[in-house]
């Protein structure tokens, strides 16, 4: 009996333990269920997104970059498709060995290797790099057959940029090149990172840079399924994918630039270093924009190889410098028409008022020489511009004073950004006492403005320094009777699909209040320059009436009493030749500024260039047609000027 009770008690005891275990089981299963509920219901969205992220790779479909066309539809920048050989670094264990093996199949020059090496260093973090572009059909065939041997090596069809005209207008169009770290920062700052997935190139200079956003377009996207090792799954997907978003091609740029005129201007400048900017005065549209020497922008697209880079970068001619936009030069005597206008507007001179020019102007103990020994004799305003009399402007500068000069002439845009639609333009220097204080902030001793400095500023020397673009804008504003337009290259931006055009409106910046009578006097004198003055030889026989002004800008200062003799001066220290002009004089269609570096007299080196460009634009005349011999209307057909001692 006792034993039986014991057995029953033991059984009871055991079942209690089983009960405890059963409770434990239930508790554990409840926890598991709770966990599943948490993952599959509460957090389902989160994990579903994760699974989709795992499975779906977004393959960007980069858009076609817009074209750049001149005003007549001539293509300046276009795209063509070609095959490239691309390496995915993360999938290639032995890079050198792979490249060596590939070089047995396709042509891989040491140059390609160097460029690839540079690309690797510059594009840290990018996994996919191009080893060779523009593969031939044979190379594509050979690679396709051997592809299984090279994991991580792909042949891709890509669009390439091409500048079919090469050097022509290279500084205007600019170029695109590989996206580098700085570009990446810029792209991220402008919130464009998504749009540049799949884009390798970006505008680096010129219009390619400043109209990057319009040209680039919108990247399309396609979803693909990838497995855990990152391979794209071919055939049907495990689950449905979102439909493809096609790319939207970039817009075309249609310029105001006339590429034939540009070519005429570049040929007219020849082998000289220099710049030319031609503007349509009524709109501000740039007709020609030359900086010589140029360069072939095609070299930069896939990363310039070091040899070409050294050649361009170390050339003493600095072909990469955009002289028209960033070259700073004293305007020389091309400054005088504005001085004359200032005198008239501020009542410091009447047109008929004359001075006597003995060949020099004495200021204190300093003698400011006129270039013509013995002087021009009695000189009124008309003659002062036609023969480019320095003495007239020495005295005028003294009478006007630096503040008046800076204030009045500054209205024409001297020493200020023009607001042209490319990046990087230089400001230059419109000299004034305020400017000098700012300029010599760290050396107060040099801040003082000397009255003698005013005298040389009066003939466009001294601290004066402006870009050829500013000179062109100023003369265009003068031609346009004081109505100033923002210079621009792009006429309109065109949607390549709809054809819809977005015009860059001619933007009137301001109207300088000028008396018509005074404008007439100055313009008349500038017409005189080309008819019977310093520009007469260059414009002999022209069938249109043009207005101009020569200028010669000194590169090095001469010692007191020293005479400038071209032959005695090293070439790069010789004077720059300048010319500003507009035509036809009564209804200007074109205004331009020409600068020829170290070419000496403006009349001899710059004015003929202007003549050829104006002929071409107004008459469609070939630039190589020799001009008729110059009639001798004025005894000395050359002009020159001189600076302060």
């Amino acid at each position: 009996m006792k034993e039986l009770r014991n057995v029953r008690r033991e059984l009871h005891y055991f079942q209690l333990r089983l009960g405890v275990a059963g409770a434990l089981v239930l508790a554990a299963f409840a926890i598991l269920f709770g966990r599943f509920f948490y993952l599959q219901v509460i957090q389902h969205q989160y994990y579903d997104t994760k699974a989709e992220d795992n499975r779906i790779s977004i393959v960007p479909d980069p858009p076609n970059r817009g074209l750049i066309l001149d005003r007549n539809g001539v293509v300046l920048a276009r795209n063509y498709s070609a095959y490239t050989l691309e390496l995915t670094l993360s999938r290639i264990p032995d890079l050198e060995g792979t490249i060596d093996a590939l070089s047995k199949l396709v042509d891989i020059q040491p140059r390609d290797r160097r460029r690839f090496q540079k690309l690797r260093e510059e594009s840290k973090g990018r996994d996919n790099l191009t080893l060779r572009s523009r593969l031939t059909d044979e190379e594509v065939a050979v690679l396709a057959v051997n592809r299984y041997r090279f994991p991580g090596v792909d042949i891709k069809g890509r669009l390439f940029r091409q500048y079919p005209l090469g050097e022509l207008a290279s500084h205007v169009v600019g170029y695109i090149s590989r996206i580098d770290d700085r570009d990446v920062e810029k792209i991220e700052d402008s919130d464009q990172a998504g749009n540049y997935k799949g884009t390798d190139h970006i505008g680096k200079t010129g219009l390619e840079l400043s109209y990057e956003q319009a040209l680039h377009g919108t990247t399309g996207f396609e979803q693909v399924e990838t497995d855990a090792s990152g391979r794209i799954v071919r055939g049907t997907s495990v689950r449905a994918l979102a439909p493809r978003t096609p790319p939207v091609p970039g817009n075309n740029l249609v310029l105001t630039l006339d590429i034939r005129l540009q070519e005429a201007a570049e040929r007219a400048l020849g082998e000289n270093r220099g710049a030319l900017v031609a503007i349509e005065p009524a709109t501000g549209g740039v007709l020609a924009f030359v900086s010589k020497p140029g360069y072939d922008p095609n070299l930069f697209i896939d990363g310039i190889d070091p040899l070409n880079w050294d050649a361009l970068n170390n050339s003493p001619d600095h072909p990469l410098n955009n002289r028209a936009l960033t070259g700073l030069y004293p305007p020389g005597s091309t400054f005088k028409p504005y001085m004359a206008l200032a005198a008239l507007e501020l009542g410091k001179r009447t047109p008929t008022q004359t001075i006597f020019d003995p060949g020099y102007f004495m200021f204190g103990n300093n003698r400011f020489r006129d270039d013509k020994a013995g002087g021009h004799g009695y000189v009124d305003m008309y003659k002062s511009i036609v023969v480019s009399c320095d003495t007239y402007y020495y005295t005028l500068a003294n009478d006007l004073g630096i503040d008046n000069m800076a204030r009045f002439i500054g209205q024409f845009g001297f020493g200020a950004k023009t607001g042209i639609d490319v990046e990087g333009e230089f400001v230059g220097v419109l000299p004034s006492p305020e400017w000098k204080v700012k300029r010599f902030k760290s050396t107060p001793a040099q801040q003082k403005w000397f009255p003698g400095e005013t005298i040389s500023v009066g003939i466009g020397q001294g601290y004066n320094s402006y870009t050829p673009l500013q000179l062109a804008q100023a003369v265009a504003t003068l031609a346009n009777d004081g109505v100033m337009y923002r210079p621009h290259f792009v006429d309109y931006i065109q949607n390549p699909i709809t054809g819809e055009r977005k015009y860059v409106q001619a933007q009137s910046l301001k109207t300088i209040p000028l008396k018509a009578k005074n404008l007439e006097i100055v313009k008349h004198a500038m017409v005189g320059v080309n008819k019977e003055g310093t520009g007469a030889r260059a414009f002999a026989g022209a069938v249109y009436v043009s207005a101009g002004k020569t200028g010669t800008a000194q590169v090095i200062a001469l010692k007191q009493g020293e005479k400038y003799t071209e032959a005695n001066v090293e070439e790069r220290h010789r004077d720059h030749a300048l010319f500003i002009a507009f035509a036809p004089a009564d209804n200007p269609k074109i205004a331009l500024a020409v600068l020829v570096e170290n070419a000496g007299f403006g009349a001899r080196a710059a004015a003929p260039v202007a003549r050829k460009v104006l002929d071409f634009y107004l008459l469609g005349k070939g630039v190589d047609k020799p001009a008729a011999p110059a009639p001798k209307l004025v005894p000395q057909a050359t002009e020159d000027d001189d600076g302060e001692d």
Binding site: V25, L32, F36, V41, R55
Partner: protein, 368 residues
């Protein structure tokens, strides 16, 4: 032969088979095969191999069900000693696979003796307690712990933490059910908690990493955390209804590692969702409850302890595996019972079920 004769033969054939148990095992195995078909889509041979494994397992289950519990008790000591000897053999001559010495080459085949220990351990301990049923004192429990610790330590050293865990659990369940005083349990739990830092020092680097990555899988997303992250994503992305059979993206794009074996539950949950996971929980719960019921009705102390321990071992398998796959427990090599691909554990599990059936069938035939 008449149909009556055939029926009679069939009835005799199935007489010792427990209906609820076999139904549940077949249901789980069916789900398992369907899941394996999806998980092993790249190696269809595995599906066929698993079908053969299951046939063999069912046969062994039937055989075990025919054996009288008395025979189990008689075999307990020799089986235990034989398996222990094999473990020594493994330590001395074992094959190293995947960095662990677990396999004993027998010439014609290799076996994993540690797997057999999952049954040998509860058999021996149940027999030991049965023998000393009348007077269980501290000494008996201490001896039981000593018996438990030797093979567990040997298996853990192979290293095979998952199997060691299951062997230890099987033994501990026997000791617990035999009536280990609550005071001792409380003291043991306290001591275990206190010795955690010491245990930490004994663990292998990879084992430590598994625990650390459980706390923060993202700390090592491509290394040790990868398994947990990807299987958790699979489970979570399955949602309520699942992505559908053969349509799990985590599975079919190879994001789930070990998806046919230890991580097969991730495949199952991804494709069948919370509904499928709940169904499987219910089936396991049914299996365990039926097992506990058999234990509760078992006639002898030996059969009670054996049935209880085997049943709770099933529970351990299921909870550790599902907890691991869903990111609750560290990654330990424990298969999901009747679902994971692999013959060895399937055979042990089926023998266990067969023993439960035998105990159930013979409950009234044995009188103490």
């Amino acid at each position: 032969m008449t149909t009556a004769r055939i029926r009679q033969l069939l009835e005799r054939f199935a007489a010792k088979i427990d209906g609820p148990l076999i139904a549940i095992v077949f249901a789980i195995s069916g789900l398992g095969l369907a899941t394996l078909y999806s998980a092993a889509y790249q190696s269809p041979g595995r599906f066929a191999a698993q079908v053969l494994n299951m046939l063999l397992a069912v046969a062994l289950m039937w055989v075990a069900a025919q054996v009288h519990p008395q025979m189990f008790m008689r075999l307990a000591v020799p089986v235990f000693l034989a398996v222990l000897l094999m473990l020594v053999g493994v330590a001395l001559f074992g094959d190293v696979r995947n960095g662990a010495r677990r396999w004993l080459p027998l010439g014609f085949a290799s076996i994993q003796p540690s797997e057999l220990m999952k049954l040998a351990m509860p058999l021996l301990l149940a027999r030991y307690f049965h023998r000393h049923e009348a007077a269980l004192r501290f000494r008996e429990y201490a001896v039981a712990f000593a018996i438990l610790i030797v093979p567990t330590a040997m298996i853990a050293r192979q290293p095979d933490l998952g199997t060691a865990l299951l062997v230890a659990a099987a033994g501990l369940y026997v000791i617990f059910l035999a009536g280990l005083p609550w005071k001792v349990i409380a003291a043991g739990v306290t001591a275990a908690l206190a010795s955690l830092p010491i245990l930490w020092g004994v663990l292998h680097d990879y084992q430590r990493r598994r625990f650390l990555t459980l706390l923060d899988p993202t700390s090592d997303p491509l290394g040790a955390g990868y398994h947990i992250i990807q299987s958790t994503i699979a489970v979570g992305s399955g949602g309520i209804t699942g992505k559908g059979w053969l349509e799990g993206t985590q599975t079919h794009l190879e994001f789930i590692p070990e998806r046919a074996t230890d991580f097969i539950f991730a495949v199952y949950s991804e494709e069948f969702g919370l509904i499928g996971a709940s169904l499987l929980l219910v089936l396991y719960l049914g299996l365990i409850m039926r097992g506990l019921m058999i234990a509760a009705n078992a006639p002898t102390f030996f059969t009670r302890l054996l049935a209880g321990s085997i049943t709770l071992t099933f529970f351990t398998y299921a909870v550790v595996n599902m907890g691991m796959v869903s990111g609750l427990l560290p990654v330990v090599g424990v298969p999901l019972p009747f679902v994971s691909y692999g013959g060895t554990s399937l055979i042990t599990l089926s023998l266990g079920v067969g023993m439960l059936m035998s105990i159930q069938y013979h409950r009234t035939l044995v009188q103490t």
